[in-house]
């Protein structure tokens, strides 16, 4: 059963694949934000590792550097950096995903500097100026990787890595399609686990795993799925949260989470090989242009359309918008999404929660249960 492989990958951060890769002399570089083109790392022969905290509840070391006014996801990640859990990383990519992530990285670099540290800066808007700017930043990242790891990222290697990512994304979207029937093939927490596993192994391993999972899930159906829910919002990597919500009589048939569907939609842009376009420009257009992150300040309509498309595709009956306490980006966006979705007649529940806090689940369960009852009573 290949979900066992998924659980095994997600069980610890430094999983067996990471250990084997490093034992063979490979280098692993951590990153957090979705605008990081992992293809560049893959093309450099480096394993991209998505930094996460998997609901880690302790933050005592991080709290001495960040504050209780910073989101606990960032504090949990910093905790794992400061207590040495992330020492297996050979390098770290900072990104300006949000102000608090920036603070997390600054403290990481200040208190426990990694051997390789590069700051990938992404603009917050689209347009020609911003795309030129981001293309330039990707060039800087390429140079930094080549210089530090003593490698050359050829066009061919980069194109191959982009092809592989495109295939991976297609396979994840195909798995999503298995959640569309009345009896979905998997729960939302399982789907999230599958996506999370991709951040902890190399692309080649992951692609093979997805092939095996497609076979497993092709013939599987959930017994009593209950209400169909869409989960949106948060930068959260907690399958336990999904499971807690699903335990209240619903099934998460789609999500727009940073660690979920936002990480593989849209596809990597596929240029005509004859067009001879700059692959870095293509990556910039894919990762910035396709971003559904609320950090992009002029793209709310695109984010709303993304949610509506997910509702349509999954036949979701209600939407739960989640944000971690102190997350400004999702806090604002969820409020506006709620207003717009309710105007369209979509039932919405906004949940603000403390990251990685099982104590919060009781309160959340009560609210989700009431929400499910409300939807269930709708004519």
């Amino acid at each position: 059963m290949d979900m066992d492989s998924v659980h095994e990958i997600n069980r610890t951060l430094q999983n067996q694949h990471v250990r084997d890769f490093r034992s063979a002399g490979g280098k692993v570089v951590g990153y957090t934000c979705l605008f990081t083109p992992v293809e560049l790392l893959e093309a450099a022969g480096v394993m991209p590792f998505r930094i996460r905290a998997m609901g880690h509840p302790e933050t005592d070391l991080a709290d001495a550097r960040l504050s209780r006014f910073n989101c606990r996801f960032c504090r949990s990640c910093l905790q794992l950096a400061l207590d040495g859990t992330y020492d297996f990383l050979d390098g770290v990519l900072e990104s300006n995903g949000c102000d608090q992530l920036r603070g997390m990285f600054e403290n990481w670099q200040y208190a426990r500097p990694p051997a390789f540290f590069h700051y990938l800066k992404a603009p917050h808007l689209l347009g020609d100026d911003a795309l030129d700017h981001f293309t330039f930043e990707l060039g800087r990242l390429q140079t930094a990787l080549e210089s530090h790891f003593g490698v050359t990222i050829t066009s061919q290697k980069l194109t191959d890595a982009m092809d592989r990512q495109r295939r991976i994304r297609r396979k994840l979207i195909a798995l999503d399609a298995l959640r569309e029937p009345e009896r979905p093939a998997m729960t939302g927490s399982e789907a999230l686990e599958v996506v999370l596993a991709g951040g902890g192994v190399g692309a080649e391993v992951y692609e093979a795993l997805l092939d095996r999972l497609a076979e497993v899930f092709a013939h599987r159906r959930i017994e009593r799925p209950g209400l169909r829910l869409l989960l949106g919002g948060a930068a959260s990597d907690e399958p336990a949260l999904f499971a807690a919500i699903e335990s209240m009589g619903g099934v998460v048939v789609a999500d727009t989470f940073c660690f979920g569907a936002r990480s593989y939609r849209p596809l990597v842009i596929d240029r005509d090989p004859q067009a001879q376009s700059d692959p870095l420009r293509t990556l910039a257009e894919t990762y910035l242009g396709g971003s559904r992150c609320p950090r992009m300040v002029d793209e709310f309509d695109g984010r709303l359309a993304f949610v509506l498309e997910a509702i349509d595709g999954s036949s979701a009956q209600g939407v739960i918008l989640v944000n971690n306490k102190f997350c400004d980006l999702h806090g604002f966006d969820n409020a506006l999404l709620r207003i717009r979705l309710e105007d369209l007649g979509v039932p919405v529940l906004c949940l603000e929660k403390e990251y990685g806090s099982p104590a919060d689940h009781g309160r959340l369960r009560t609210r989700v249960q009431a929400f499910c009852e409300r939807i269930g009573e709708r004519p």
Binding site: A64, R65, L66, S67, F69, N70, C71, C74, N96, C98, D99, Q100, R102, G103, M104, E106, N107, Y110, Y119, K121, P123, H124, L125, G127, D129, A130, D132, H133, F136, P294, R295, V297, D298, F300, N323, K325, F326, D328, L329, G331, F332, D333, N334, A335, L336, R338, I339, C350, E352
Partner: protein, 479 residues
């Protein structure tokens, strides 16, 4: 269900400033007392503090500047031809809007400060309205209070918004985006690259020039070189006066009234490059010169020189700025008044626009938080300011919404001690709302810290081994 808001900040502020317009000359203490009795208690003490006897003339000029700024927005649509009102954030040079004959700027955070400081009920009623729309309680009151007033439908709406915070502050960028979508107001965005290299600045220059083109299109008016030169020359005069005042801020005892730090910010955020802006700064310099020559200081001696690391508290200036003065504690600066402007070369259109780009780049918050490293830039400014102004301590007010500063304040504390041997007090409160932490609690915490750590240390001063900083950070833009 939303909370009711009966009137917007602009309307209420205009009524208050309408009273100030009626004043003939500088009122005596008795006349002022009579006038203040007409005001509700919330406003009375703060307005009274702004017009304290030793700084009354400058206080009146300052309040008149705010009045003119608000009136310009109020009257914009009744003029022929009509002018457009553009809402700008505090981290953006309003000069760029003053450059257009057909546009006037309104600054979000300054209107919030008007509400917090001068309107009955303060900022809280707008804050509550914001919460009732479903927005989180950890967003920034600095901007969300005024934005709430605009969202309530009870206030006068701007024709456009300039959002200049992407890159420097998420909360600021998102609140203006929310307003734009909720009320259908067009939004122009100026990205702040978090990149201190020449390439980063070159991209900022591109974004800035794109913004100018967008504003030209929006207003239907091309940038006029003569008008630009006029604004920039007046801005340069403001720059001269700012640095003249800065020299006084370095003196012991500091002859600059504590509340002048509060006056400096709206000049920069609303009226830089205008005659009322110049008049306000001139009045401040004249007052300080007079106080210095007369040897006037609000207490028997100056006991402590306090630098504020970021924002301060603006809802009760009587019980903070004035209270500090009476205790012999000089309020040297906060980040909002430590904006270090530079003269702009007026030779050509390009040199002037380049100068405005640099000015915008160096605006408060952009300069510290919107950089490659929030901690490094902030530490560099604070260490420089602490040394330059001889601060005995630095206070971080701990505005709870400010996730950027909260995430690197531990580094600031360590580096201030390492590089400048100056202790940092970290408070917690909301800069614009009295209900988060009452002013009496803030006073108590400051008294304990200054009494025990700063003055206690002065009494038993030991020889401290001065560690040399790894690099000489010094701000990039001191004259």
């Amino acid at each position: 269900m939303t909370v009711d808001v009966h009137a917007g900040i602009m309307d209420r502020g205009l009524k208050l400033f309408g009273m100030i317009e009626k004043l003939q000359g500088v009122p005596s203490d008795e006349e002022l007392e009579g006038l203040l009795r007409l005001l509700p208690p919330d406003s009375r003490e703060n307005i009274g503090a702004l017009l304290a006897p030793e700084m009354r003339e400058a206080g009146l000029v300052f309040l008149d500047m705010i009045r003119q700024w608000m009136y310009a927005a109020r009257d914009a649509r009744s003029l022929s031809p009509k002018k457009k009102v553009i809402l700008v954030p505090f981290n953006f040079p309003p000069d760029l809007v003053h450059l257009f004959e057909s546009a006037v700027p309104l600054t979000t955070e300054v209107l919030t400060t008007v509400a917090a400081l001068a309107l009955p009920g303060g900022a809280e009623r707008y804050w509550e309205f914001m919460q009732s729309l479903g927005l989180p309680d950890h967003i920034c009151s600095a901007n969300s209070v005024e934005v709430a007033s605009l969202l309530s439908g009870k206030d006068f709406l701007p024709d456009a918004i300039i959002s200049a915070a992407p890159g420097a502050c998420d909360a600021n960028a998102k609140v203006h985006e929310f307003l734009s979508h909720y009320q259908g107001i067009p939004q122009f965005i100026l990205e702040k690259p978090v990149d201190d290299t020449p390439e980063g600045k070159a991209f900022y220059s591109r974004y800035f020039r794109t913004l100018i083109r967008q504003l030209e299109e929006f207003t239907g008016e091309s940038l006029n070189e003569d008008r630009l030169r006029g604004v920039v020359e007046r801005g340069n005069r403001c720059t001269e006066l700012y640095w003249e005042l800065f020299e006084y801020r370095k003196m012991r005892p500091c002859p600059v009234p504590n509340l002048f730090t509060l006056f400096l910010s709206p000049v920069r955020f609303c009226m830089w490059g205008t005659e009322p802006g110049i008049r306000t700064l001139e009045a401040m310099v004249d007052t300080v010169r007079r106080l210095h020559e007369a040897g006037v200081y609000p207490a028997a001696e100056e006991r402590c020189r306090v630098l504020w690391a970021y924002t301060s508290f603006y809802f009760n200036v009587s019980e903070l700025h004035r209270w500090m003065g009476k205790k012999g504690w000089s309020f040297l600066a906060d980040v909002l008044s430590l904006y270090m402007p530079q003269p702009i070369d007026t030779s050509t259109m390009d040199t002037m626009i380049d100068g405005l780009v640099t000015a915008a780049w160096e605006y408060p918050m952009n300069r510290q938080m919107g950089t490659s490293s929030m901690s490094r830039a902030w530490v560099a400014d604070m260490v420089w300011a602490a040394r330059e102004m001889g601060a005995d301590c630095v206070v971080h007010c701990g505005h709870d919404a400010c996730k950027q500063t909260w995430s690197v304040v531990s580094i600031l504390g360590e580096e201030l001690m390492n590089q400048a041997q100056v202790p940092l007090l970290v408070l917690h409160g909301d800069s614009w709302m009295k209900t988060t932490t009452p002013i009496t609690v803030i006073q108590q915490e400051m008294e304990e810290f200054i009494g025990n750590v700063v003055l206690g240390k002065k009494r038993t001063r030991r020889k401290v081994r001065r560690r040399r900083p790894k690099s000489t950070p010094g701000p990039k833009s001191t004259p």
